[in-house]
């Protein structure tokens, strides 16, 4: 049993590795975005395998995840409908980079299973959930949904498939209408009027420990 005394990349080394990767990806058409401490590079579809392989060599040698996002109903989104993101990390675990590709419906992407065997199930899931075909994948078929299931569930135009709730008296509740109040668009079926519930007046009713305050501390 060996000790965990391995060298973890320091912040400086990590920043250098990230910068080196980004520098190599920009000539491929990469567009860099940072948000909080996350770095993402959007590359065009033709260069995705090269981009992933560049990242693999420049220090982000592991792939954590391959997943898709459907931007159909994202407010203010321009551009292609789907994004397939490759979540890559360095072997020490503290550095991460996201390589993104924008695809439209019907477009296909080359597979990266040649670089990472781990991407096998990941790409199959993206295919199952979004319908993005990965060319060259050794075994591209549905992963999670039943074999006779048509459609790609995580697309935004695929309905959630809710069954209305039927009460004994015969009335039924449509869950989507019920939830509309949550979004704030309209009060929905709850008809919530707001305000404190009757009965609970003060902290004396509940004592210490209920709610936000811990022991011995007053109001923030």
């Amino acid at each position: 049993m060996s000790d965990a005394g391995s060298h973890t990349a320091s912040d400086i080394e990590l920043a250098a590795a990230t910068q080196a990767t980004v520098d190599k990806l920009v000539p491929l058409g990469g567009v860099v975005k940072t948000f909080k401490d996350m770095v993402s590079v959007t590359v065009p579809k033709e260069h995705i395998v090269e981009a992933v392989s560049v990242a693999k060599e420049s220090g982000f040698a592991m792939i954590s995840d391959v997943f898709g996002i459907d931007y159909l109903t994202y407010p203010g989104h321009q551009g292609k409908r789907f994004t397939v993101a490759y979540n890559m990390r360095n072997p020490d675990g503290n550095g991460r980079i996201f390589i993104r590709v924008d695809v439209d419906e019907g477009e296909s992407l080359p597979t990266i299973t040649g670089l990472f065997k781990a991407a096998n199930f990941m790409e199959r899931e993206v295919y199952d959930m979004f319908g993005v075909v990965f060319e060259g994948h050794p075994d591209l078929r549905k992963l999670l949904t039943p074999e006779d299931f048509d459609g790609h569930p995580h697309r935004k135009d695929f309905p959630l498939g809710e069954t209305p709730t039927l009460f004994n008296e015969g009335r039924f509740l449509d869950p989507a209408a019920f939830r509309a109040g949550l979004v704030g668009a309209d009060p929905g079926l709850t008809g919530w009027k707001g305000g404190a519930a009757k009965g609970a007046r003060s902290e004396q009713d509940f004592g210490q420990g209920a709610g936000m305050h811990g022991k011995e501390s007053g109001k923030p």
């Binding site: 979540n87 707001g194 936000m212």
Partner: protein, 409 residues
Amino acid sequence: MSARDLGHAATVTREEQHGEFETRYMRINVGPQHPSTHGVLRLVVDLDGEEIVGIKPQIGYLHTGFEKTMENRTYQQGVTYANRMDYLHGFAHDLAYVLSVEKLMDARVPERAQRIRVALNELNRIASHLVFIGTGLLDMGALTPFFYTMREREMLLDIFELVCGVRMNFGYFRVGGLYRDVPDEFFPAVDQFLEMFPKMIVQYERLFAKNDIFVNRLKNVGVLSRETALDWGLTGPSLRASGVPLDFRKAAPYGGYEDYDFDVPTYDAGDALSRMLIRVDEMRESMKIVRQAVDRMEPGPIRDPDRRISLPPRSELEDSMEAVIFHFKLVTEGFHPPRGEVYVATESARGELGYYIVSDGGSMPYRVKVRVPSLINLQSLEPACLGGLFADMIVNIASLDPIMGDVDK
């Protein structure tokens, strides 16, 4: 099962001439309903006698559509969905989800809440490893250790019930902190558990770790070398059993883990025995973390006081109109994180767990992608089982510790 069922690449048939005999590989189905597959996992196995020449996991029998459902629930309601994915280590999912949303919102979680979260997370890790040991040994035919480990797990579930109100599938973590403070009985209960548990681990080790049958059944079975494990994307204790000391609690600390002093056990053999024994060692390390977290706990608030995230205390609702408005907005709509996409990697009992949350500024997430460890770890079943015996396949599944709720999301 038809050929379409399995994919063209799954057919591993070969007809050979052995003298006058024409032989073929036998394809059998280890179906979803099986006592030893740790849930609804289906394996299609090609056998040459007893030796496995091809194995393909077919999953999806527990697909629940978590991610799509979470897109239709507010952020605070998402916590209830999170811990039903990996139901054995529910707090890991809760923590990962809540950390992601807090990163998006720039919420500041008070220290007491962080320490309680860490303590509960580690206790839950111990509970998960206890089930791993119990059911893993059950698969191999040892019935007794199951009852021993479940006895300890009952003590842990009593502690969870004390704090959260439920034994499993807790709804205790909130974005910004916790639902409520721990009661006073929590500390003596934890002390009692931490006092008697080391002796129990010694008991387990006496039950199986030195047992010849156990060791012979697991030694050099399902060997995953370092390169194979890394190539196939393995994470978690199974990876650490193959010689890679990667633990996200140390590598990229989150939620207060940088404060605690613990080791990351690593084995080099990469076989099923190391994968079993490493989790016993991890239980010891988790105990250390719980001890430190509980000892260093100071009184204080347990939620981010920012009214945009946390409900105001009831007493304020009488005096302040603002508090009433915040309360109303939070209860009817929930809070609105800013637009953006965020990911936090955490370490669950099974490996790297992270929630990638895309927010469009509304009160419900636009997209939640869960990077589940068990789905990726399950791919390593193929290199581990190929060339081994059929009976070893059961051992390999048990040692990789997949949870089908996690795999199928």
